[in-house]
């Protein structure tokens, strides 16, 4: 195995590595391509099994059907607006809360700091299914069942801990001395933070916000238990409901899934390296 011999030098791809890479990328990405390319073909072709891998003609009819229809349960536009509303607010709340928390973790010395930091990271895989019952109870006590506010609260709680963890590593990498120097030059302490650390951590803040938005946009369990009325559904719940119809409208469903997945990936792809950086700071330490 020559794997270890030429490490850490830019090298031409060896044939075997190239083949493996292509296989990995195919397994990874092909399903997404297939859903997308299917969604661009006429519903009748989809339902009769004539879906093509490389269609010569594409149509946006499925998207038009999905988005322009106004009758009854098919008001998909409405669900997109609901999802956008909830996830934007979650992104905003999470960003503010995590900037505060990360600043505290990064700039102050206090008892239990490392424990709290670690706890924030591990909430990334918090077993939410175990708490659906008490959370439902809390929400019903505050008369929040079937409101978007309940989703905003719980989604922020799920997303913000990881955002805080992520931002802390960005704040940590800005030397405190820089802030101090600015403070000596006549900036206030907070002004120094806003003028120096915050701009330098912009990629982290952006990643945290987008991460929170995506978490909320795709979250399913709590939407499932909290939302009852048809008008308040978010996209995941609406799509899941379409899926359980007896005769599945594949054309619209595929278009809906493409709308659910593709914009998110477009926004997040450039940020994956920051996402990983934030994650690994803790995992490798």
């Amino acid at each position: 195995m020559k794997v270890f011999r030429t490490k850490y030098r830019m090298q031409r791809l060896s044939l075997i590595l190239l083949v493996v890479l292509i296989i990995i990328l195919l397994i990874d990405l092909f399903p997404f391509y297939w859903v997308f390319v299917s969604s661009l073909q006429p519903n009748i072709d989809i339902l009769t099994g004539k879906t093509k891998l490389f269609p010569k003609k594409v149509t946006l009819k499925n998207y038009a059907d999905l988005l322009l229809e106004t009758a009854g349960v098919t008001a998909f536009r409405h669900y997109i607006l609901n999802s956008l509303k909830v996830s934007f607010v979650v992104a905003l709340f999470s960003t503010v809360i995590s900037i505060l928390g990360a600043y505290g973790l990064s700039r102050y010395q206090f008892y239990g700091r490392e424990f709290i930091g670690r706890m924030l990271l591990f909430i990334y895989v918090f077993p939410t299914i175990l708490i659906i019952i008490p959370v439902y109870e809390i929400m019903s006590k505050f008369h929040l069942v079937d409101t978007h506010l309940s989703l905003i609260l719980i989604h922020t709680t799920i997303a913000a801990p990881f955002c805080t963890w992520l931002l802390r590593s960005f704040f940590d990498s800005v030397p405190y001395e820089l802030e101090e120097a600015a403070a000596i030059d006549g900036c206030g302490k907070f002004q120094a933070f806003f003028r120096i650390t915050l701009p330098l951590s912009a990629p982290g803040i952006f990643t945290a916000g987008i991460y929170a938005m995506i978490t909320s946009w795709g979250e399913y369990i709590f939407v499932l238990i909290m939302i009852n009325s048809g008008t308040k559904k978010t996209v995941p719940l609406a799509l899941a409901a379409y899926m359980s119809h007896v005769d599945i409208q594949w054309g619209r469903l595929l278009a809906g899934s493409a709308l659910n997945v593709i914009p998110i990936l477009m926004i997040f792809l450039p940020l994956t390296k920051y996402f990983l950086k934030g994650f690994l700071e803790g995992a490798l330490k």
Binding site: F4, I27, W34, Q109, M119, V125, F268
Partner: protein, 291 residues
Amino acid sequence: MQKKNQLKGYLFLSPIIILIAIFLIYPFVNVIRISFFKTQFGFGEMEFSGIKNFILLFKDEVFRISIRNSMIWTVGSLILQLSIPLGLALLLNKKFRGVTFVRAIILIPWIAPVVGVAMMTRWILEPQLGLVNKILMGTGLIREHINFLGSMTNALPTLLIISSWQFIPFGTLLMLASLQTISPELYDAIKIDGANSWQIFRYLIFPLIGSMIGFVFFFGFVWNFNTFAIIWMTTQGGPVNSTMTLPVLIYRRAFKSFNMGEAASIATIVGFFLIIVGFLFFKFLWKRTER
């Protein structure tokens, strides 16, 4: 260096801590309380019933099936989700043009919303229209359409593979990052000593990335054990309980049969189990990280 102002540090963290306390920690504890109550119609009439819920559970056949399925699910997933990422990470641990791009792009299944993934699964594995069946039929490998999600024998393994497909890129990137902390000089040194590839792995790589493997193991364990959405949106635990794992059972008992007390007792058992696993992880695997 850092300000040693204790109170202010807590103050900055208070919003997030309050949210976590109300919506994660308090419910995690409160679920134990609910598990001791007999409930009807949600939280309408709660009546203390001691450990009756637990006794009922252990007589419950579906609960036993769910435990078995959850075990198969978690162990099976972890085998795939540790071995494949480790192999891929060793293979990809090189610098080549486009490496950053590849790393960003292979993370897609992990980021994609689970509804999209469930949808995709159903479309690709659809018995009549699905691509996989078409390819298998076309190449003559099978004579009859395979019903991946609708058969008792196929459903669990199929979903296990889909769910692992989501996790593997993430696991790979974590292990890859860990591999890249090993400096090239160490490889040179051990090779001068005449080590072969296996010895390099055994004595150099493994000790240094062992803690990362432990980390991925723990993350994967908790993540897999609590997987709900993908199962619920594809099979709802069926056919005939063949994909009924503990999370699906908790949801079904709580929000389909509205037996909150019993669902809470399942959640309590799972919670304690995960706490034990977490304790063992922090005691034996995590500590090593802080050499």
